[in-house]
Amino acid sequence: MGAFDRPINGSDTNRKLTNVRVYTFLMRTWNSMEEFEEFLDAGGVVEPNDAMPESYRNAVFRFIELHANSEYMGGLTERDWIPKAPGMHRKLTALAKTQDEIGHAHLLYMVAADLAIKTREEMMVDLLEGRTHFHNVFHYRVHSWTDQIAVAYLVDAAALASQQAVFKNCSYGPYKRILRRVIAEEGFHMRNGEEMMLLMAHGTETQHDMMQESINRWWLPAVQLFGPDSRPGDELLKWHIKSERNEVLRDRYVQKFVPQLLGGGFTIPDPGLRKDPVDGRWKISEIDWEPLKKTMRNGGPDSARRIADARTAWQNAHWVREALDSSVEVPA
């Protein structure tokens, strides 16, 4: 037995519909945290059946659960406007995009469940009871079609930048493998958002005005997605779950998106925005993180409705899950 071995209960294997198999044997173990961290620093990749330290297991789990919750809530954010998408092409691409987001949530919940801390069902119930969290951007309501574009263009781009930074050097194997697919799909979403944003930029005056209003609503939440500056000794960085500091990612995002938006004839809702004459880089105003903290505690502008809608749908369909779990396969 190594230092990080977990007691294994053979009956843990749970094949209920909303759960997945739990690994019941261990592959590798480490004698101490120092030895484990050396393994990570040398580029080691951890797999779910390894006897990893509990603190690492919990940190990876919390991170993936937050990501899964956010993908799912992102799907809910977008669904309000899918039925209203203008024209057949936009409707099909909006459906495909949101299906991708739900697909990401599906994959991520399974990867998280493999860490044997919570089942998929427990994660879903915790989310819908408001006990766990999701990214700030999905606590806001989509008020218009151009808000939908802003989500695809500004929010997905911010999420993509964060995910790319995790993927680059992620020490948890299953997450890294899932991220390869997530990133490829998010790249399409962002380009789809960019194409629609440019159409609005060069469209009618009404369209341009609508897009500007949406930029006004979504710019700050998108920039805040990266979170406050990373703490010194951030364990997610130390254990190579993340590979870049929040402030670095945020700055890179600002340098890319400020010129794009200005180029589209839009203004950016930040009176303190300026180009530094010395280094030529765009600088944004100091961010007040207090509202973000409230949002992340499920106290954002649309958090209550969003969670309540999802909870109602989940509760209404309880009988379906129960019936399927208890039913036998009927031959076709």
Partner: protein, 244 residues
Amino acid sequence: MVPSEEARKLVLSFADDELCVGQNHSWWIAIGPFLEEDLAFTSIAQDELGHARALYSLLTDDIDHLAYGRNHSEYRSAHIAEFLCHDWSSALVRHVLHDMAEQIRWSALTNSSWTALGETAQRALAEENFHIQHGLSLLRRLLSSDEGQKRLEPIVLSLAPYGREYFADCDEGLIDDGLLTISMADQERMWVDQVLETFDDFNISVDMGEETQSSGRSGIRSDDFATLHDEMTAVIQIDPNAQW
């Protein structure tokens, strides 16, 4: 080139049915009973909308105008396709009844003398087999439970008769022209037999009624259509001449 007015009406009816069902299925994204079901329903929604697009493209170069720009009375959709079905049980039952009908309707077109229509039917039929497999396996498993039987039986009894309208198009001349290889009456008989047999397995006796209950093919819309149409055209209406 559309061969005849009857052919145009047949294709338009089918396209409008697919448009409405695809639109209605898309309502379920992210709020299905579990994530796998969200994904399946959304895939099927995309397929149905794709079928609508393929069918409209046989009639016009301006698909969006035909799909979204007509007066309500110019649509030919069957009422069962228009029903919003905002409870999941109804959505599932409609999905099964619709796809059983679709499978038969496409089969009657795969060898059509209208080559483009035949090719569209062949592609669509391949997808339909998956839809039916999905809907029926789920429905059968749910009906095998007491709770499923209790919840689904009344919905089956009330929705199934409306499905007859899928076959309410006039096929005069279409069989002789080789555009359609199974008459509408025969298609309807095949569908009714299949529906009755499916539910008979679960001791549900469906009464299909003497006559078709609705009149969507003749331009009369169901109560739900206005909501559905307002929803699908909400953004276009802001500026119908703009590119979105």
